[in-house]
């Protein structure tokens, strides 16, 4: 069991001077004296560490994509044409992707509000916002499934496509698939969290069914971190895969 942080109100070390809360001095004091470093709920610190590891995984995929695209002698398929949507006889480039981007950003906004209203103990609002976030996430995955179906119908496979470099299909399915999996997992956890908030499990510190963790509103914030990270990854995929 980690010793409480000196800045913590329950710290027994009454005589010690209070730890600095800001600036370089707080960094030095957090890392010194063999204490618990991160003065936040452990769930949040661990979520940040998990996100950091996921950042490295997604970055490796995107760097791999860069290498494939730079090193190929075949022409790279033009995303504007590949991902165009035909509306009323007109071809609008990247329309579906633009809508998916706006949906994911909106879901990030509703998630941020859910965290806020969770801490404010407004259960009804927090539940609704979590469900709305889940719905937007599910819509995103649905549109992605539609996009995949369209491309597969046009003959795109991980090893071949009609427009040029065969590597295009491989990185497309790998990167968007990995991201879509993250969104799907997020939607599942959002629904679970909405149920927990709705029945008051977080307020009553009720132990979780699977993990036995006592409920707390900090859990919504950790889930929020994950959800915003999924949005963050999409910002990078949107820019480097679809727009470049």
């Amino acid at each position: 069991m980690a010793r409480p942080h000196p800045g913590h109100p329950t710290s027994p070390e009454k005589s010690a001077p209070p730890a600095p809360r800001e600036g370089m001095a707080s960094l030095v004091s957090d890392w010194s004296s063999e204490r618990r470093v991160f003065d936040v709920p452990w769930g949040k610190a661990m979520m940040w560490i998990f996100i950091l590891s996921d950042v490295f995984i997604f970055s490796c995929l995107l760097v791999g994509y860069m290498v494939l695209r730079m090193a190929t002698v075949e022409p790279w398929p033009d995303a504007n044409e590949v991902f165009a949507l035909h509306v009323g006889g007109q071809s609008i480039p990247l329309l579906l992707i633009a809508i998916m981007t706006l949906i994911l950003i909106t879901s990030s906004g509703t998630m941020a509000l859910a965290v806020k209203y969770g801490y404010a103990k407004e259960r009804g609002r927090a539940t609704l916002l979590l469900l709305l976030t889940a719905l937007l996430g599910a819509t995103f995955v649905g549109m992605q499934a539609f996009e995949w179906t369209m491309l597969i119908g046009e003959g795109v496979r991980p090893w071949v496509n009609p427009w040029g470099a065969a590597q295009f299909g491989a990185v497309f399915f790998l990167i968007t698939g990995f991201h879509g999996t993250h969104v799907t997992i997020g939607v599942i956890f959002l629904v679970i969290m909405a149920v927990k908030v709705g029945r008051g499990s977080l307020e009553g510190s009720r132990a979780g069914f699977l993990t036995g963790r006592k409920g707390s509103y900090g859990m919504i914030e950790s889930l929020g971190l994950y959800w915003h990270f999924v949005d963050l990854v999409w910002v990078f995929i949107f820019a480097v895969f679809y727009l470049w």
């Binding site: 913590h8 707080s26 950091l52 900090g218 963050l232």
Partner: protein
């Protein structure tokens, strides 16, 4: 467990960030539609991408209100990824030039 150890930002902050994310997304879409090519296009797209990422991390993920120990623990390691990207760009260039000189025709 100490919850909400940092102050919660106002509703207005979230809505403003939200609006900016929309605006920046529309801008990056317009850059793509505008038919710009080469350096101007990808520097604009990268700039907009980093602005959006910064907004999400700072406000939605509350990084602006965290202690320096968390900020550095999360934001410093990804710097190594820039190094990886630079190395792999060199490697990819080399592969391309070998392919062009050895497999031409």
């Amino acid at each position: 467990m100490d919850q909400g150890s940092h102050k919660q930002p106002e509703l207005r902050v979230y809505l403003q960030v939200w609006l900016w994310l929309f605006v920046l997304s529309v801008f990056s879409y317009l850059v793509d539609l505008s038919g710009l090519e080469g350096l101007p296009k990808w520097s604009l797209i990268t700039l907009l991408m980093l602005l959006k990422a910064g907004l999400i991390v700072a406000f939605f993920m509350h990084m602006a209100w965290e202690r320096l120990s968390i900020i550095y623990a999360v934001l410093l390691p990804p710097v190594a990824l820039l190094f990886l990207a630079a190395l792999m760009a060199l490697e990819a260039n080399h592969t391309l030039s070998s392919r062009l000189s050895l497999f031409a025709g």
